[in-house]
């Protein structure tokens, strides 16, 4: 090969200046937008950093905080009220229990995010863990002090409502999704009716129903505690949404799979369990994570029927006269907890979606 045939590689253009020109100043209007946006960012950041960091009171007393009103945030309210915000009215000496419960839950969630470990055992593990956590919180066994659910509060309640809500709504959702695709007219009509009615009303009205109507449904003398009633409401609500997600997955399973299963002579339930569902579920795991995020966020609505979730605990924690001015700080703290959890989950769902083996048709949602 002679030198004449060797073509130099195209000159790579790199460097900060080139990047800036290409991404921020490629046209005159983009340049204008960039400058405008930069200005806004600087102004906003200056105000936010000034309030939240520079002029903020981090560990000071209540007096110091009050002196800083209008200039800076009072983060010491979080320090003082941390345990109340996180655990509500749970007995103080026993708060290691909700703390342990949350830790176990988070550990299990982290383990489950590892795809290699997905198996039937893991599902059973979850059911087992939720039962153990229930006993840990409730007490009354193994020498643990009994703590009635009225005293539960904060983060464990939020997590419990969401986790049990999703876990128990899954089987119902599978049934509803199958029912909606059933050839039996009555079953189909009932499933469609349930799904559409529940999806047509706001969660708040379902929670109101669970809090004011449900007690009337039960025979006299039997009462079910408020937390459980709200939990039932959340399960019934989330099942309708999950059912649509599952249905999307069922539709994504090619017709040939159903026919092959029929040809093998499998009955309806075995066909569903062995052939259809495993494929359908694989399709819909990312939207299911999204559905879980939605349920997790929705649990904060139980504040309107007076349950002590994270939001309500934050509101109550800052309800005494000396700290009333700093409710915003407590809310921001709670918002941060929610954001971190939901953001992690949504990133995770996106990674699942992009993962190899999930490249097939995406489930319609």
């Amino acid at each position: 090969m002679t030198a004449a045939h060797v073509r130099l590689p195209p000159r790579t253009r790199r460097g900060v200046l080139h990047w800036l020109r290409r991404n921020l100043f490629n046209t005159w209007y983009n340049a204008l937008l960039t400058v405008g946006a930069l200005y806004l960012i600087v102004v906003a950041l200056k105000a936010i950093i000034g309030w939240a960091l520079v002029d903020a009171v981090w560990t000071g007393s209540n007096e110091e905080c009050r002196a800083a009103i209008g200039d800076g945030a009072c983060w010491s309210v979080i320090g003082v009220k941390l345990r109340f915000i996180l655990f509500g009215t749970y007995p103080f000496e026993e708060q290691w229990r909700p703390m342990l419960a949350v830790a176990l839950f988070v550990a299990m969630a982290v383990i489950s995010s590892w795809r290699v470990l997905w198996s039937r055992t893991l599902v059973l593990g979850w059911v087992f863990l939720l039962v153990v956590l229930g006993f840990l919180m409730r007490g009354g066994v193994l020498g643990l002090m009994s703590v009635p659910t009225e005293q539960w509060g904060g983060l464990p309640v939020t997590i419990m409502l969401a986790a049990i809500g999703v876990t128990l709504s899954l089987p119902l959702a599978f049934l509803l999704a199958l029912g909606r695709r059933s050839t039996m007219p009555l079953i189909r009509a009932l499933s469609i009716g349930y799904i559409e009615v529940v999806r047509g009303v706001p969660l708040i009205s379902v929670l109101f129903m669970s809090s004011v109507m449900f007690p009337l449904f039960l025979p006299e003398g039997i009462t079910i505690d408020k937390l459980l009633r709200a939990q039932v409401g959340i399960i019934l609500f989330s099942a309708a949404y999950l059912a649509e997600v599952v249905r999307g997955g069922l539709q994504a399973v090619p017709a040939g799979q159903y026919e092959a299963a029929d040809a093998l002579g499998l009955g309806f339930w075995r066909k569903t369990r062995l052939v259809v569902m495993p494929q359908a579920v694989r399709h819909v795991i990312p939207p299911m994570v999204n559905s879980f995020i939605a349920t997790f966020k929705d649990t904060s609505l139980v504040v309107v029927i007076g349950l002590y979730d994270l939001l309500h605990a934050a509101r109550t924690a800052t309800n005494e006269p000396t700290w009333r001015a700093f409710t915003t700080e407590a809310y921001i703290f709670v918002a941060l907890i929610f954001f971190i959890c939901c953001f992690a989950m949504s990133r995770y769902s996106r990674r699942l979606e992009a993962a190899p083996g999930n490249k097939g048709e995406r489930a319609a949602s």
Partner: protein
């Protein structure tokens, strides 16, 4: 029974159904399910009736005619505490509809802007829009609402209201007060002319479209249409001597009266709902635009269409087809989420329904009325959107 294999006909399907028992089995399943549901319902209803009679709670919808007795701060139609529960419900429904309608419009505008911004070639703008979407989508709406409400309440009280526009606009922690022209007959006539003008504009657009389809020649629509819509009304207004008397907001005691007013709760709710939903709509818009194949825009440009025409005639119609159905869901969500107003004390349907339940004790009727209204809203929006969706669907293809 014999199988008529000799004639080559298919084996009698009904025969096999009965032998395999599938038809009978299905009937049995359905009967069982129906029986179970019926049994549960009967049990619950009989319990409820027992409970109601033993607690001597009235049933039925008689309470609708009785005096409500509670005030409602913001109402579109006349309302006083002496009005009936029925009227209170109506006020609540109208408030819900008002918030939803305004929220939907704002959320759409903001959502489209942010969705397009996420695709901007400008790195900074794209990142900002992305950050907005992540931040809002991963925080519970009710938390955002109480946060915005807290921020709004930190504005100065009415006595020290921020005054701008020469006293025509007052901002305080109670809301927004602004000067409003008093309504006069001339305004009504002018508005009627504008409405007629808009109808004329629509007719003109139809004519132009038909002409293009038949002759291939265009006809200007935008500017003649605008003129047709607004000039007659404006002319009437000017001929009548442009009668405007402003009612200006004034401080009286601890409150501001006169002029138009938008309450703090209303503003916060509309702001919170539309910014939150906009984040979701932005994602829908982004996905819709990304889903139109590159070849489409290249083909449009190759045909000699300008950028604007390519966008309007080729790209947008295709993107819209993907954007409309999920956006409808977001509209429905917004309407349902307006019920979170309960958390900040704006009196819409759920809030008023809740007060009614607390006062009358008639929980079942109250909750059912709330649910019925939301179901109606949901069905209406989805029917309207299905209709629109069919209208913009590809002709000649079944969806």
């Amino acid at each position: 029974m014999t199988i008529r294999a000799a004639t080559g006909a298919r084996p009698n399907a009904a025969f096999f159904r009965i032998v395999s028992g599938r038809g009978a089995l299905q009937a049995l399943y359905q009967a069982l399910v129906l029986g179970a549901i019926g049994g549960v319902l009967f049990y619950l209803v009989s319990n409820t009736l027992d409970n109601l009679s033993s607690r001597s709670i009235a049933t039925g919808f008689d309470f609708i005619g009785r005096e409500a007795g509670f005030p409602i701060a913001e109402h579109v139609i006349d309302y006083a505490p002496t009005s009936s529960y029925g009227r209170a419900y109506l006020v609540g429904i109208l408030n819900t509809l008002l918030v939803s309608a305004i929220g939907i419009v704002l959320a759409t505008v903001l959502g489209v802007l942010i969705g397009v911004a996420r695709l901007s070639s400008n790195w900074l703008i794209a990142r900002l829009a992305g950050g907005y979407v992540e931040l809002l989508r991963n925080t519970p709406l009710i938390l955002l609402l109480v946060l915005w409400y807290g921020l709004f309440l930190s504005l100065p009280p009415p006595r020290q209201a921020i005054t701008s526009l020469d006293g025509d606009l007052l901002v305080s922690n109670r809301g927004l007060n602004f000067a409003l022209p008093a309504f006069e007959a001339t305004h009504g006539w002018a508005l009627i002319l504008v409405a007629l003008g808009i109808l004329g504009w629509i007719a003109l657009a139809r004519f132009a479209r038909r002409r293009r389809a038949e002759t291939g020649k265009g006809f200007p629509v935008v500017f003649p249409g605008l003129a047709l819509a607004f000039l007659p009304g404006l002319a009437l207004f000017l001929i009548a001597g442009a009668p405007v008397t402003l009612e200006r907001p004034e401080l009286q005691g601890f409150n501001i009266t006169g002029g138009g007013r938008l309450g703090a709760e209303f503003l916060v709710l509309v702001f919170g709902l539309s910014t939150y939903t906009a984040a979701y709509i932005a994602e829908v818009v982004r996905a819709g635009i990304l889903a139109v194949p590159r070849g489409q825009s290249e083909a449009a440009l190759a045909l000699g269409l300008g950028r604007g025409h390519a966008l309007r005639l080729v790209l947008l119609p295709q993107a819209l087809r993907l954007i409309v159905p999920p956006t409808t869901n977001q509209y429905l969500n917004l309407a349902k989420n307006s019920s979170l107003a309960v958390g900040i004390g704006y009196q819409e349907l759920v809030s008023i329904g809740n007060t009614t339940i607390n006062q009358t004790g008639q929980a079942i009727e109250g909750v059912l009325m709330i649910m019925a209204v939301y179901l109606t809203i949901s069905l209406t929006i989805s029917t309207a959107m299905n209709w629109y969706n069919r209208a913009i669907a590809l002709r000649g293809t079944r969806r």
